[in-house]
């Protein structure tokens, strides 16, 4: 018991030292928000507060991303945060309603520079082994024989059926993610530290898109997804477009449509500086360190 506590405390200490050395400032942002996340497949945990004054709905943050981006747009410079985050409808040996996230942003980094920085961090923290970088397209070609960037939705459905997998998806990006989980992820266990980068534009989330490629990456430690990083979108208009697109999808799936976070969008009238950011799951990271 105490051993596990010591292991986590030491790890957090090392993370803080790593960022202190690089002049990245530790920040804390609000965990209790007025707006739930618009992310189609992440559910915020809602609650009612101030019942004896004037009842209000609040939501536990699912990630500190938007609050930290407000700080970035105000000129915070490089920042990091270690906090608990909360998600509804998560259950399993690797998924929980509450977990610890390390989120950090580096100014003037693109996603490749950030991958280099994340690799340095996980090595400092004691993750051993060689670093492998594979583009999303290359991984699909190598592990599943699929030319993912040039295969349309109908053709991909046929491929799913050939592999005896479900093809019942609303959007091509969801089928791509499903096929990656089913066909590519099992092969990633052979790599101690593996970055998958440059996703199809449809999976851009909040990252910049150049041509048909979204500038984002994921980190897998021996096959377990541990981190998700973006070359971040900068201006309010781009975020508004993404939020609206996510709400359209929510509507089609009969999920709650979320009123946009106007605080955030107003704040971003002053755009973010060029930066890249990443979220790292601390419990999964600890599990991969001896």
């Amino acid at each position: 018991m105490r051993q596990a506590l010591i292991k986590k405390a030491k790890l957090l200490e090392k993370i803080r030292a790593f960022f202190d050395h690089k002049n990245v400032l530790e920040v804390q942002t609000s965990h209790l928000l007025n707006t739930p996340t618009t992310d189609v497949y992440i559910d915020s945990i809602g609650m009612s507060v101030n019942s004896e004054i004037q009842r209000q709905s609040k939501f536990l943050h699912t990630s500190p991303e938007l609050e930290m981006k407000k700080l970035l747009s105000q000129g915070s410079g490089d920042i990091f945060q270690i906090c608990q985050v909360f998600r509804d409808n998560e259950q399993g040996s690797q998924n929980f309603n509450e977990f610890t996230l390390l989120e950090y942003y580096r100014l003037n980094f693109d996603h490749h520079q950030l991958m280099g920085n994340v690799a340095e961090l996980v090595k400092v923290l004691g993750v051993g082994g060689e670093v492998t970088k594979l583009s999303y397209a290359h991984a699909f070609e190598r592990f599943a024989g699929i030319d993912i960037l040039n295969t349309d939705f109908d053709a991909l459905k046929v491929i799913a059926k050939v592999h005896d997998l479900s093809a019942d998806f609303e959007w091509i990006e969801d089928l791509q993610i499903f096929l990656f989980t089913a066909l590519c992820e099992p092969k990633l266990t052979q790599f101690p530290i593996c970055f998958i980068y440059d996703y199809p534009a449809g999976q851009s989330a909040l990252s910049k898109v150049k041509g048909c490629i979204a500038h984002r990456f994921e980190l897998y430690l021996s096959g377990v997804e541990v981190a998700n990083g973006y070359d971040e979108l900068q201006d309010a208009q781009a975020y508004r477009q993404i939020f609206n697109r996510e709400n359209d999808k929510r509507q089609q799936l009969n999920k709650t449509v979320i009123s946009l976070d106007t605080d955030f969008l107003t704040q971003l009238e002053k755009p973010l500086p060029q930066c890249s950011g990443v979220a790292i799951g601390i419990e999964r990271l600890i599990a991969s360190i001896d």
């Binding site: 998560e90 998924n95 005896d164 997998l165 479900s166 499903f178 992820e185 998700n228």
Partner: protein, 187 residues
């Protein structure tokens, strides 16, 4: 037959997969940072005994398999068919000799075992974890030897060959672990 959604999947649930009844060994929910959840499920094919792994979209449904496990008494075999009886209903079931490969060395007449039925037809038999078998052939025993100083092969009355301690002689009854085919003591 009922359909089961991934949210109802649990270990031991019997489902139809590729035309064969299967039993869930493990069910892992995989939720990517971005995107929909899926379920990684490991199955045991109850006909072939093989382990399979398959990924399902969360919310997908599979047809349940009409599989029952019943305690039955092994009665006898006539070389072609093995006969079992449900002691509650006295219903008798037969299994073809070719389906008995893994277990025929552990079945002693009158012993209880578990018979798996699919659509009311027996598809497999699980013997008790330990059975009492009689040694019908082995090299002569050595005096003063004790367990743990090596062993010798011994043929049992059911035909199975088990490694036994050197002091065990023909005609003795020994306990055998049916999961590992190992000697588990004298009676």
């Amino acid at each position: 037959m009922a359909y089961y959604s991934t949210s109802q999947f649990k270990n031991g649930l019997k489902l139809m997969l590729d035309g064969n009844p299967c039993s869930i060994i493990s069910n892992e929910i995989r939720k990517p940072g971005k995107g929909q959840a899926s379920n990684k499920v490991k199955f045991k094919d109850l006909i072939t005994g093989k382990t399979l792994e398959k990924t399902f979209k969360s919310g997908e449904s599979l047809e349940g398999a009409d599989v029952m496990e019943l305690d039955m008494q092994y009665l006898y075999n006539d070389g072609n068919e093995w006969n079992f009886m449900d002691p509650n209903t006295f219903d008798q079931f037969t299994i073809n000799d070719s389906n008995m490969d893994d277990v025929r060395g552990y079945l002693v007449e009158q012993d209880m075992c578990v018979v798996t039925l699919w659509n009311n037809n027996p598809i497999s038999v699980t013997p008790p974890n330990h059975v009492l078998l009689e040694v019908v052939d082995t090299d002569p025993g050595l005096k003063g030897d004790t367990a743990g100083t090596g062993g010798k092969p011994a043929t049992m009355n059911t035909g199975v060959v088990v490694q036994v301690p050197l002091f065990i002689g023909i005609g003795e009854k020994v306990k055998v672990d049916t999961r590992t085919n190992e000697y588990a003591g004298r009676t």
